[in-house]
Symmetry: D2
Subunit: 294 residues, 4 copies
């Protein structure tokens, strides 16, 4: 069993650490707010006082933070991950951040003699708990082979994508599809509902149909009732859409349905729904249909 | 076992009759081109010379034809279904046609003392053969209960939706999602491919991800290679999009991603791809990305 | 001076008759509601009891009605225009209707020995009164030359387009631009207003800028205050958008900004604004921006 | 007559200096490439060796450069404008740059005891030469009043908008409309052309219609033939669209037609047309319509 580190113990990060502990790994963790990590410490996770200490203590350090700025915050400075890395160590970033930012850190990690992978996950806490999380990883092939067994403890399907940054590109491309699928779903549900079918029935049929992606299976019912706490809120979804838009312009790939969907995320924020699960694009469209929501 | 009729023995219709015969039902069939039905006759299907004769011979007559015009063609006239229906008989239309047209026929069927259900299927021939086809049905509740056992022989999940026409509305809403999901998928695949990931890898990851609907699982690989024969061509897909657009205006539901996707089906036709599987919206977008396709 | 007929004395039709009377023409008129025509009768217009009587009395009969159905209503039947037409007469339809419907009537008019032009106008009542209305006409070249002097009495710029129906196509293409320009204007105004510039100032600058089309010059201020009576309401605008959508599919021309704009007309109807001037797409977008309108 | 400075003597900047010289002003100029300024030196413009020298020599210094980076380049450093400014001087930036960047420089200019206006122009070289250029300006009201007479020598209509940055916001909102109007125009032209009307006739009618903005009047004919040198190329247009997108997200204003149009600028770049006048979105759409362009 490996000597692991984990920085960023939010909903998803915390659950992954839980899984890693269950599989018998030793894990040293750090989170900006320590109290949120208490349940993991109770389960045997060792606490470190800084990202640097995590990286110093572990052979393989994982991170899962909110965005490029948060990644920069844990990497740099006296207390940063870069200060704790050294020859033979691996750093695996599971955050969804800008591929450009990630590649720049990969270079700095290499200068320390260590190596870095970007390994974002596709799926939700539910998928993780079902053992069906999909992990995609990019970076040096050898580094990948070294950490692959650990990644397989996290997700049932682990795929090597290629050079640094490419797993992030793929993750961003996937998330673009989340937003569009949710919009199209909203259009379909409203069409059927305004025809006279109950919203429950419509959601039931959709989530058992040819268009029922795993995401629609768990998020579709959110148009009946928003979850108590957003699984992935509008701000987070739009952050990823903006990464997609940026790639779109760097690579010259038009995103017709992606850009239209992004406008509805903007509308959701304008209408005060920034912190709701992004399933609330349904409510934006409902309003445009003269229909009150939920 | 029931005494059934079936009109329209194309790819999907033919396969359904095959399933019904396997389950032990007696089936009388009719198709505009008799030769295409020979394999079913060889398996025990009785042949009738007209839609009217099918309806006259059967207790429950099914139809699966291309569009509203084709439905009208088999229903009306001296040789039409309406002429063969009578008290106690049921007519189950599995075609995707205009709900308005379907409701009008339902009224005329009732005048004959018979009753009609609209019962479109969601899924492909593959789904049917896996026994996982989803059937949604609308019309009188009693009529539904009467034919339900037969519908369950066709699909594993049979759902009653409500009054005549509503199953069609739901089917149209689902098909709208097919088109949009395929567009978003194309945007994501091109973004990843132009970043340097091979198209194969991208498709592989997508079809095992949170956005992998059953449809994307079977149609996604078509961006690597179009099938020899379109599963659902651009013309058919756009026919259903136009039904969605019509509902959109009758019910005042805006369809932002639906309408944008529809423009790419129009482009596909302009670029000579009307008879290809509608997965070719990928090729339209590839061209807009300065990328040759396949 | 010519012996003219005019059917459809609504806002625009009535003003045109007024202009024709001022120029010294003899005009026989008909309107579904006679009371609306009294002011023209007072100015010397002769009243006829049916479209047929107008066509029988006049050498050149004009029509300006709401849509394809209204055109059909005045053309057919015992009291219809077709019954009053005969050798040497001309029929000039200024309505915006389906080119297909118009071409069909052109054939039937020719069978009567008469000829037909489609001659829709581009501009508003204000443009007409300024003598700057633009008229485009299609049909036989000789028929056009015959009525050209009368068309020049209506608009300052008269252009011959080609065969029957083509002037309508061009008019529909122009009206498509009305809807999109109004949407883009709304986006720009809201962007500037939410930055802190007063809506008045924004409208003032826009209506004196490089994007200030004649339409935006008169309709732009409607986002400050809707006119008492819609100049062109959402229903009428969407009717023309649907004609554009129909052409789009017949000719395989994708309409990306047109179709997106059409969704906002649908939203306007859903939100109860069907009878407001279509400038109210601004209000739909304002709502999506979390901004109350007017 | 005033003692003026001008930095950035490209097509538009150069023409403005020419106008200012004609009106009798004394102008000191600077351009990265001196040779492009020779014609103005020949007409009496004094040459300075750096932006700093211009600002030191002039009472009012104007700048017109390509983007935020170019503005930063002429402002900062030992040779930058900031080094030459001092009490009582004015700096007027006519470039289209990020309002945020502009506001930051306005603060630094104020620290020098000078003041800054953002004063972008709306219109083309042609509009300038016709004396019909529209100038919008933002910053301190007093600073505006001081330079207003000079701005009036440049454009016939000078409007004060409000605090620093707001003229830029308005300019960006206007340019958003340029892109969308050009897309809608392309859709309309292709619809009419594929119906059988010659492209010349269509352009002629459009440029004399209710949708004929000044921009469409000069740019519309570019779909018949691209100008030898782009008036405003795809790269520049998209730069301004990205400024609009950024404002859209900061202010939460959805831009449905703006974002769709932006995707076609991306496509134009993907198809190798980055340096053509952005009228080439027509060619992108023509290709989607199965129509060869020009």
């Amino acid at each position: 069993m490996a000597n692991l580190g984990f920085i960023g113990l939010g909903t998803m990060g915390g659950q992954i650490v839980d899984v890693l502990l269950c599989k018998g790994h030793s894990v040293t963790g750090y989170n900006r707010t320590r109290s949120k990590a208490q349940w993991l410490i109770d389960k045997g996770m060792r606490w470190a006082n800084s990202p640097r200490d995590v990286a110093a203590a572990a052979d393989v350090t994982f991170a899962m933070v909110t965005n490029s700025d948060a990644l920069t915050a844990i990497m740099e400075g006296a207390e940063g991950v870069l200060g704790g890395l050294g020859r033979g160590k691996s750093f695996v970033d599971m955050s969804t951040v800008s591929p450009t930012v990630s590649r720049a850190f990969a270079r700095r990690v290499r200068e320390k003699g260590a190596d870095m992978l970007d390994a974002p996950v596709s799926g939700s806490v539910v998928t993780l708990q079902q053992g069906k999380l999909s992990v995609i990883a990019a970076g040096g092939r050898e580094s990948f082979e070294r950490v692959k067994p650990i990644l397989e403890d996290i997700g049932s399907k682990v795929t090597y994508i290629g050079d640094n940054g490419l797993a992030l590109v793929l993750k961003i491309a996937l998330n673009l599809n989340l937003a569009v699928q949710m919009m199209a779903f909203s259009e379909g549900v409203l069409l059927a509902e305004k025809s006279g079918i109950s919203r429950d029935t419509v959601v039931e049929v959709f989530t058992h149909s040819a268009v029922a992606s795993p995401m629609l299976q768990y998020r579709g019912p959110f148009v009946l009732q928003q979850p108590e706490k957003a699984w992935f809120d509008v701000n987070m979804m739009q952050k990823d859409m903006l990464l997609a838009m940026q790639l779109s312009r760097e690579l010259n790939v038009p995103l017709p349905t992606g850009s239209v969907s992004n406008e509805f995320l903007t509308a959701a924020r304008a209408m005060g729904m920034a912190r709701l699960d992004f399933a609330c694009v349904f409510d934006v469209l409902a309003q445009l249909s003269g229909k009150s929501s939920q």
